[in-house]
Subunit: 180 residues, 2 copies
DNA sequence: GCACGATGATGGTAGGTGTCCACTATCTTC
DNA sequence: GAAGATAGTGGACACCTACCATCATCGTGC
């Protein structure tokens, strides 16, 4: 394909590979109106794009879906004993949905729940050996995907974007440390 | 509540209002591991937060859900005659899902589809009077919500975030103009 | 002029996700 | 000891995404 809308890049994302560009209409003269200024539109659409790309790369590791599975592996791995309610809070997931995901991951022998000796209502979460093994691989893929997907940004821009998103996240989520 | 995790802000977001902070566990000493450096995690979580806030503000205007409803109103309004396939592409939505949303919006007398005289396979989209009226109100709410939600950022930071997200968006979506 | 491949839209389906609520066990406060 | 709050569980429901098959239409090549 000529120089038209093709974009040179080394790593095709999942969105790029799927045939999405309409062929018999010009998509280059769209008037975005205020959309061009809405952060929420861009956050949403970039999220869709990065999620599809990440899911495509993870699908052989994680097999089935499970929004929050990656986050759970990584955060439980880094915080053995973390509670479902804390995990749900940090990743902004409904508590009962969190419980269901943990049940599924327990069934897959990735995570186990133990009653907290400090408080018998609460559970502590720990990775099982299969979970530890998967965590290592998920970590590698996640880091690589993040680097590749956002490679259009140079190092300084990447740090800027991270800082700004963290600032927004920190502002809207109570009781969460400044991550990093 | 003391100075603990309460954050001073003028406009409580939907996420802030819902009781999400675990009460009997410390959430401030979480080790984010690599998550603290993953743009994808922040993009995803900020998206959840901003979507919930936006949905809360829009719910009386839009009544039922409809991911893409806001985008459709604004983009069809700004581009009368736009095609479903183009719209789907720009907002990264499955074409058949786009069609279903348009059917629902047609049923609500917000949007109409006309066979394109240029190509009878294609449809052109136009807002109906109810859609135009709703568009005006949705626009106001969207602009206000965006300003309030991202108010932790100053003007320069906001412009930075917008520029960086646009750059990522433009890189991963073929055939889309630099919005703005 | 016709066959074939491509395109735009439509309809159907399956699976996954998010949200909310009721309930139980447990803990704290009065 | 009662009452209210908390952590977790289970169920229900609505919504969303993704994919595929199908049809009408269009463009291209022979």
């Amino acid at each position: 394909m000529g120089a038209m809308t093709e974009k040179a890049d080394a790593v095709p994302s999942a969105a790029r590979r799927s045939r999405k560009v309409p062929k018999t209409a010009d998509t280059l003269d769209i008037d975005f109106d205020i959309f061009g200024t809405l952060l929420s539109f861009y956050v949403r659409t970039v999220n869709i794009l990065v999620s599809q790309d990440l899911d495509a790369r993870m699908e052989r590791l994680l097999l089935a879906g499970g929004t929050g599975k990656i986050a759970t592996l990584l955060l439980v791995g880094a915080n053995p004993g973390i509670r479902p309610s804390v995990l749900a809070h940090v990743i902004r997931k409904d508590r009962s949905a969190m419980g269901k995901l943990l049940d599924a991951m327990g069934g897959a022998e990735l995570v186990e729940q133990r009653v907290s000796p400090a408080e018998r209502r609460a559970r502590e979460l720990y990775l099982l050996p299969k979970g530890e093994a998967l965590r290592a691989r998920v970590r590698d893929v996640a880091l690589t995907q993040d680097r590749d997907f956002f490679s259009v940004l140079d190092g300084g821009e990447r740090a800027q974007l991270l800082g700004l998103l963290r600032k927004v996240y920190g502002r809207h989520l109570d009781g969460v440390p400044d991550a990093g």
